[in-house]
């Protein structure tokens, strides 16, 4: 299944920092987000609770449209409202509730204590300004420094994200750069003010495979250097195994399983997580067909009343149809949203 070396790469420092940790840098509790026009009672993000400790990495995993990006954007205050509305929950970052801040306070925090990089490096930079100016602008916004000091800092950031010939690149426009280079610029821009938390929303999805590995290892290296915490949104389980401390698996707007990376990979409990693991191709000898999860995520208007994964679940029964399961702790720091977790006990040997 997953390459064991990668799996244990970070297991040494995955102590503490559970999803309910008290000393968390970011603590999101019972977050629910609705889109106007969606059927009542169907939230695009529903009752999401997660936390990230200082310097740690939380990976948010799930298929497209499951609410990962919406969650991330809401934490940054970048969710367009309307149509989106935060209908419940709180998000404490360093003691302050992100959802009760004024617009000004949010703007002061963005790009300063919190920063975000996005999925589409090709369109995320403003085409009419040089990349140097775009980085400098972010520094001048939050730091009381002179223009030349800001330029110096921007240049240093370009060096740190390993842009060749950084002095020359300061004057370049985004269209003169490749996707990988532009994502490095985005990273430089995000980290220029030394944020405590970086949210990376599928930062490598739009890039070539060879570039993907470079960008991920760059992000990890920068994180080690700066000690910032990170929420990495991805559906690349190889990356998760390599980089995560904690993992939260989302399905149709809900967290279906959360725990340390070891627990999630060695002892997955939710049928959806197990299915995801089965969908990862391995490099070793082929053993039969690549497993897939049958069916697709139901659209909002057809969302089941009980467990949202029920229509696709091989273990579903009557109870799953009628009652939505809670996110229940299975072992300390490991919880799953399934009536039958742990599956070994309820269903005998599986997976």
């Amino acid at each position: 299944m997953i390459d064991n070396v990668a799996l244990h790469a970070r297991s040494a420092d995955t102590t503490g920092a559970t999803h309910s940790g008290r000393d968390a840098l970011l603590r999101v509790e019972n977050l629910s987000i609705r889109f106007d026009g969606a059927p009542p009672d169907v939230n695009v993000v529903d009752d999401v609770t997660l936390s990230v400790a200082k310097g740690k990495t939380l990976c948010l995993v799930g298929e497209s449209g499951c609410g990962k990006s919406v969650t991330a954007l809401s934490l940054m205050g970048l969710l367009p409202t309307p149509p989106a509305r935060i209908v419940g929950g709180s998000a404490y970052f360093g003691g302050k509730d992100l959802f009760r801040m004024s617009e000004r306070e949010k703007a002061d925090m963005r790009g300063n204590q919190t920063a975000m990089i996005f999925q589409e490096p090709m369109t995320s930079l403003n085409p009419v300004f040089t990349v140097g100016d775009q980085i400098v602008e972010g520094i001048l916004r939050h730091r009381k420094v002179s223009k030349s000091e800001a330029r110096e800092r921007a240049l240093e950031m370009l060096r740190r994200v390993r842009i060749p010939a950084p002095e020359k690149r300061m004057q370049a426009y985004p269209h003169e750069m490749s996707g990988g280079m532009r994502q490095r610029i985005m990273i430089a821009m995000a980290l220029a003010n030394g944020p405590e938390l970086l949210i990376a929303d599928e930062p490598t999805t739009a890039l070539d495979v060879t570039i993907q590995a470079q960008i991920i290892s760059l992000i990890r290296q920068l994180q080690d250097e700066s000690g910032m915490a990170m929420i990495l949104i991805t559906h690349d389980l190889g990356v998760v195994a390599e980089i995560a401390d904690e993992v939260a698996v989302m399905y149709a707007g809900k967290i279906v399983e959360a725990g340390s990376v070891d627990k999630i990979f060695m002892d997955p409990q939710h049928p959806y997580t197990i299915g995801l693991m089965g969908s990862v191709p391995s490099i070793g000898r082929r053993q039969g067909k690549l497993a897939t999860i049958r069916g697709t995520v139901p659209p909002a208007e057809l969302m089941p009343k009980g467990c949202r994964f029920m229509p696709r679940c091989p273990f579903a029964d009557v109870r799953c149809v009628t009652d939505p399961p809670p996110l229940a702790e299975i072992t300390p720091g490991h919880s799953a949203r399934c009536w039958y977790a742990p599956l070994e006990i309820h269903r005998g040997g599986v997976a």
Binding site: M76, L78, E103, R104, A107, D108, M109, R110, G111, N112, A115, M116, F118, E120, T123, S124, L125, N126, P127, V128, F129, E137, G138, R141, H142, Y173, H175, E176, M186, M189, A190
Partner: protein, 315 residues
């Protein structure tokens, strides 16, 4: 960049040639005989024949065209049949008036149109947006002459704030010159501001949805910086082009507006010339405005490339 401009100029040359042919031949289709107009009450066939001979009106049309165009190339646009003043002289005396009016009108149009478009886009779907759209639609549908007459009645006749008509050169009395220009420029400018507003609004709406606007917000930039710097700078690219073309149209003279406010600009010159069958003047003025319009097109192309770094390097 220079090569690009040179290329555009080369492309403009055949356009001007075609325009000159069109101007010359279309005018032949105008009803009426210039000689009869010239001779006035005098209908002596000998006088008429003399006049025809003098202005070579009996030559075949292609011959007339080449005679005229070869003179044009030497900078001689001919002599007004009516007033015996060289056409070039007439044009040069009216051009500053038209240019001044055009600049005034454009400034007013930009000052109203762009801010209104930006506000409508940012407040999309609110009452502000609807109000701006309704006003713009009225601006587009209210005819200039009606607004002009209304303004004269209110501002000049009733309130006696501004002179109703006439023109004073700025060299004579700058303040009075501005006062006479204000109303006609306002009439022209509001009409243009409506289309500028609608273009600004739609360009801004497109830009505000872009990923780089989200990035600008993610940097913590305040919303006025995001809108005025990051969004507007991108939305301006198509607006610059539109403004330049609108300015080109203004240069062609605002016939009705100039008539109403009796401003001695291009519009008035050409209307008088058409009524008087003053061929040389009509040809000269139309050719001149065509060249002006082509020049504005060229300027629009150049500004478009300058405003857009992606094109600047590609050329």
């Amino acid at each position: 960049m220079l090569r690009y401009i040179a290329k555009r100029i080369l492309i403009a040359i055949p356009t001007i040639l075609i325009v000159s042919v069109l101007v010359f031949t279309l005018q032949q289709l105008l009803p009426g005989d210039p000689v009869l107009t010239l001779a006035g009450e005098e209908r002596d066939p000998q006088v008429l024949a003399f006049l025809r001979e003098k202005y070579r009106l009996d030559d075949p049309i292609p011959v007339q065209y080449f005679a005229w165009f070869s003179q044009v190339l030497q900078g001689n646009l001919g002599i007004s049949l009516r007033t015996d003043i060289p056409v070039l002289h007439l044009i040069l005396s009216k051009l500053p008036v038209t240019i001044e009016l055009a600049i005034f009108a454009m400034v007013i149009a930009l000052a109203i149109g762009i801010p209104a478009g930006v506000i409508a886009a940012v407040r999309k779907g609110t009452s502000v947006d609807y109000a701006a759209n309704v006003i713009a639609l009225s601006g587009l549908s209210i005819p200039n002459f009606w607004l002009g007459i209304l303004l004269i009645m209110l501002v000049s006749v009733r309130w006696k704030l501004l002179p109703a008509s006439g023109f004073v050169p700025p060299s004579e009395d700058l303040w009075l010159n501005i006062k006479t220009m204000l109303m006609p420029a306002f009439v022209l400018g509001t009409g243009l501001s409506a289309s500028l507003m609608r273009h600004t609004r739609s360009a801004m709406l497109g830009v505000l949805r872009s990923d780089y606007i989200r990035t600008a917000k993610a940097k913590g930039l305040l919303s006025h910086v995001v809108i005025m710097k990051h969004a507007l700078r991108n939305a301006l690219v198509p607006i610059i082009t539109l403004s330049t073309l609108l300015f080109g149209e203004l240069l062609a003279g605002a016939v009705l507006t100039e008539q109403i406010f009796t401003i001695p600009g291009f519009g008035k010159l050409i209307v008088d010339a058409v009524f008087n069958r003053d061929y040389a003047v009509v040809q000269g003025v139309v050719l001149c405005t065509a060249v002006g319009f082509i020049a504005m097109n060229l300027l629009a192309d150049v500004l478009y490339v300058l405003a857009n770094p992606r094109l600047r390097h590609a050329r």
